[in-house]
């Protein structure tokens, strides 16, 4: 009976080999005591890309590394750093790729300029149509 139980437990306890055996980092899943600081940290975590499950924000990711990054962000906010300082710190290590709100620079300017340009083109096209319907 005990052997069977042990075997059953082994079935349940499928080890996750991609992660370490240490518990999650201190602030990986624990909120900061100050709601204002937690809101700052949360807003930043939603804009930082997970390095493991790329395409997810670290606030959504269950990867251990994402937990470590959440803990890093909360610890730094707690220490008085601003979210933009922390974002800059991460960008200086992983490039603009790591943030979902990339800064305006020679490579990314089309992201900002194109939508406005397309709207202008749309307005121009629409204006032509309105004129025609008036006649």
């Amino acid at each position: 009976m005990r052997g069977l139980l042990a075997a059953l437990l082994l079935v349940v306890a499928a080890p996750a080999f991609a992660d370490s055996l240490l518990p999650p980092a201190e602030y990986a899943n624990r909120q900061l005591p100050d709601p204002r600081q937690e809101a700052q940290a949360k807003a930043l975590m939603e804009e930082i890309r997970c390095l493991v499950c790329q395409g997810q924000a670290i606030s959504d990711s269950d990867a251990e590394m994402a937990g470590d990054m959440r803990s890093l962000i909360r610890t730094r906010i707690l220490a008085g750093e601003s979210p933009e300082q922390i974002r800059a710190w991460l960008v200086s290590r992983y490039g603009n790729w790591v943030t979902y709100d990339p800064p305006l620079d020679p490579v990314t300017w089309p992201l900002w300029v194109l939508p406005g340009l397309l709207i202008l083109v749309g307005v121009w096209l629409a204006r032509k149509r309105f004129r025609r319907s008036k006649r």
């Binding site: 370490s20 390095l51 290590r93």
Partner: protein, 175 residues
Amino acid sequence: MRRRLVLWTPLFLFALFVVVVAYGLYAPPDRTVPSALIGQPAPVFDLPPAVQGRPGVASISGDGQPRLVNIFASWCLPCRIEAPQLEELRRRGVPIDGIAVRDRPEDLAAFLATYGDPFRAIGADTDRRVQLALGSAGVPESFIIDGRGVIRHQHIGVINPADVPAIVAAYEAAR
């Protein structure tokens, strides 16, 4: 003629769009995230020893010599595949400092006993702080850091036998 061209333009633009999207969908994804710190001084760190009785790892090595800083962990399966190549690098004279990520001393000791111990020193990066500070996105990863503490080269993923010459060359170039 001009009017005809204008009529065809949307279809042409759409076809272009389809080509771009199809390329994005079918091109093999590149999931490596290179560190943006290559060519810059490594961030200051000083990790406590991960193994009792042996030194830890700091951002500037004591002897001012270049070294390979290998980010690994006992729970990382590819690191087991990499172990013989690290041993080979050590044999070729490359000093290797290990950064053990999120490791427990007993697991680390068992890993070193099983897969070999090419490390001059091993630092314990329990909360992954140094790994993140170096701009490393996973295990295993290796950095060549020169005697002045500047990151000269990064190798992402397992060092395969075919990668050894390039790493030795990067080490020689950092001297």
